[in-house]
C-alpha cells in the first residue's frame, strides 16, 4: 500500500515549469531520498505534497485516497475542512530552517499543535512531548527557548514537533542544509534512528552518505522531472542517466 502517490504532478510559476509530470509512489516503511542539483524542483515537489505550494496539474493520493487534483490550477476535488486537515496531518514536515516558534519554549513548540488541533489534554501532551524530546536526546532542554539552542538542537526539536502529531510519513526538506558541518551528524543520527523504527520517510537531501546508508531508494531529479529511481548502491556505483553521472561526478 502506498502512503503517498503522485500522478503527473506539474507545477508552474508563471511560465516557468518547475515540475513536469512527476510520478512517484512512497510505500509504507520506505525511506526515499530525493537528490539532484539545486533548482531541480526537489523542495517544490515536497512542499506541493502538503499544500504549501499549490500544484498546477496532477493528482496527489494519500493512503490511496485522492487528496488533491488540479487541472490548470483549478481544484477538482472538494474535501471538507476537517477531512483535509486530517489527511494533511498524516504528513509531518521538517523544514530547512527549522521554523520553530521563537516565543514558545521547546516543550510548548511540541505540545501546541496536539493541544490546539488534536485537542489532547495538556498533561498528556506534555508527557508525550517529554518522551519525544528524550527520543531526540534533548530532555534537558524542555523549558529552554529555541534561541538558546544550537541549529542541530533546533532541528531535532523540529523533528520531535512533527512527530508529536503522529504522522504516517515524515517529509524532510533539506533538514541539514542550514547547519554548520559539525552539527549535521546529530540530526542525521536522529533521522537514521527514526528510519530504523519503521517510519516512512521522504527526504530531500544533499547528504549522499545518508542517502547511501539509510535510504531504500534514491530518486534523482533534474529540470523538474524524475530522471532516475534506483537502489542506493546501484545509483551510486552505476548511475544510468547522463545527468545523474554528471551530478555524482561533480559532488564526489
Amino acid at each position: 500500500m502506498s502512503i503517498i502517490r503522485t500522478v503527473d504532478l506539474s507545477k508552474k510559476f508563471g511560465t516557468l515549469e518547475v515540475l513536469k509530470d512527476v510520478n512517484l509512489e512512497v510505500n509504507s516503511k520506505e525511506v526515499i531520498a530525493i537528490v539532484g542539483p539545486s533548482g531541480a524542483g526537489k523542495s517544490t515537489y515536497l512542499r506541493s505534497l502538503n499544500g504549501l505550494e499549490h500544484i498546477t496539474n496532477g493528482e496527489i493520493y494519500i493512503d490511496d485516497e485522492l487528496f488533491d487534483k488540479r487541472v490548470h490550477g483549478i481544484p477538482q476535488v472538494k474535501l471538507d475542512h476537517a477531512k483535509k486537515v486530517e489527511m494533511l496531518l498524516r504528513m509531518g514536515m521538517v523544514f530547512q530552517r527549522f521554523n520553530l516558534f521563537p516565543h514558545k519554549t521547546v516543550l510548548e513548540n511540541i505540545t501546541l499543535a496536539p493541544i490546539k488541533v488534536k485537542k489532547v489534554k495538556l498533561e498528556v501532551a506534555r508527557k508525550q512531548g517529554i518522551e519525544l524530546l528524550d527520543r531526540v536526546g534533548l530532555s534537558d532542554k524542555v523549558d529552554a527557548y529555541p534561541s538558546k539552542l544550537s541549529g542541530g538542537q533546533q532541528q531535532r526539536v523540529a523533528i520531535a514537533r512533527a512527530l508529536a502529531m503522529e504522522p504516517e510519513i515524515m517529509l524532510f526538506d533539506e533538514p541539514t542544509s542550514a547547519l554548520d558541518p559539525e552539527l549535521v551528524g546529530e540530526v542525521l543520527t536522529v533521522m537514521s534512528d527514526l528510519a530504523k523504527s519503521g517510519m516512512t520517510m521522504l527526504v530531500v537531501t544533499h547528504e549522499m552518505g545518508f542517502a547511501k546508508e539509510v535510504a531504500d531508494k534514491v530518486v534523482f531529479m533534474c529540470d523538474g522531472q524524475i530522471a532516475e529511481i534506483a537502489k542506493p548502491n546501484e545509483f551510486f556505483s552505476n548511475p544510468q542517466h547522463p545527468r545523474a553521472k554528471q551530478f555524482l561526478g561533480s559532488i564526489l
Binding site: 504549501l52 494533511l88 514536515m93 488541533v117 523540529a158 502529531m165
Partner: protein, 219 residues
C-alpha cells in the same frame, strides 16, 4: 520667589487639565489598538470584501488632518444629521482620536505581522493549525514585541497631539496653559506645563521599555 509662588498657584489647574490629556490619549490608544488589529488583518486578507474597506479606512484617516476629523465629528456631523450631535466634548475627541490613531496603528501592526518570517505560517499550517489559530497563537504574539517601539512612539505623539482638542473647547494641558498665559498675561506658565509633559512622556517611555523587555525574554 514670586514667580515660583505663581507656578505653585497654577499647579492644581494644570494638573486638572493634565487629567484630560492622559485620559484622552490612554483611552483612545487602547481603543485604537483593538480596532487596528482588525484593520491590519483586513488589509492583509486575501478577501476583497475585507481588504478594500480596511484600505479605504486607512487611506481616509491617514490622508486627512486629525484637526479636521475632530471638526467634522463635532461640528459638521451635527449640522448634517442632528441625531448625531455629541454633547460630550471628551466623547467627541475620544471618537476622533480613536478612529484616527487606529489607522496609523493598523499600518504598524500590518508591518509587524508581515515582518514575521513566512516559515512560521508554513510550520503552523503543516501542523494543522487554522489561519486564525496560526495568526493568534504564532504570528501576532511575535509581532507584539516588534510593535512596541512604534506604538510607544505613536502614543507619545498622541499625548502631544491632544492639544488639538482646543478647537472643540475641551481644555487639555496645552489649552489650559494658553488660557493662563493669555488671561494673566504671563508666559511663565509654559515652564511647569513643559515639565508636566516631560514627566508624562518619561513615565510612559519607562512603561513601554519595561513591556518590551518583558516580551523579549525569548530572544
Amino acid at each position: 520667589m514670586n514667580a515660583f509662588q505663581q507656578i505653585i498657584d497654577w499647579m492644581p489647574t494644570l494638573i486638572n487639565a493634565t487629567g484630560v490629556t492622559i485620559a484622552l490619549s490612554v483611552t483612545s490608544v487602547i481603543t485604537a489598538l483593538i480596532l487596528s488589529v482588525f484593520l491590519a488583518l483586513g488589509k492583509i486578507s486575501k478577501f476583497k470584501a475585507l481588504r478594500y474597506p480596511s484600505t479605504v479606512y486607512v487611506f481616509f484617516f491617514r490622508g486627512t488632518p486629525l484637526l479636521m476629523q475632530l471638526f467634522f465629528i463635532y461640528y459638521t456631523l451635527p449640522n448634517l444629521i442632528p441625531s448625531l450631535t455629541i454633547t460630550s466634548r471628551f466623547l467627541a475627541a475620544f471618537i476622533a482620536f480613536s478612529l484616527n490613531v487606529a489607522a496609523y496603528l493598523a499600518e504598524i501592526i500590518r508591518a509587524a505581522i508581515q515582518s514575521i518570517d513566512k516559515g512560521q505560517m508554513e510550520a503552523a499550517k503543516s501542523l494543522g493549525l487554522s489561519y486564525t489559530q496560526a495568526m493568534m497563537l504564532v504570528i501576532i504574539p511575535q509581532a507584539y514585541r516588534r510593535m512596541i517601539p512604534p506604538v510607544a512612539n505613536e502614543f507619545i505623539m498622541v499625548l502631544k497631539d491632544t492639544s488639538l482638542v482646543s478647537v472643540i473647547a475641551l481644555t487639555d494641558l496645552t489649552f489650559q496653559t494658553k488660557i493662563i498665559a493669555s488671561n494673566r498675561a504671563s508666559s511663565l506658565v509654559y515652564i511647569p506645563a513643559m515639565i508636566i509633559y516631560l514627566c508624562l512622556t518619561g513615565i510612559f517611555t519607562i512603561v513601554f521599555n519595561r513591556l518590551e523587555k518583558k516580551l523579549s525574554i525569548y530572544e
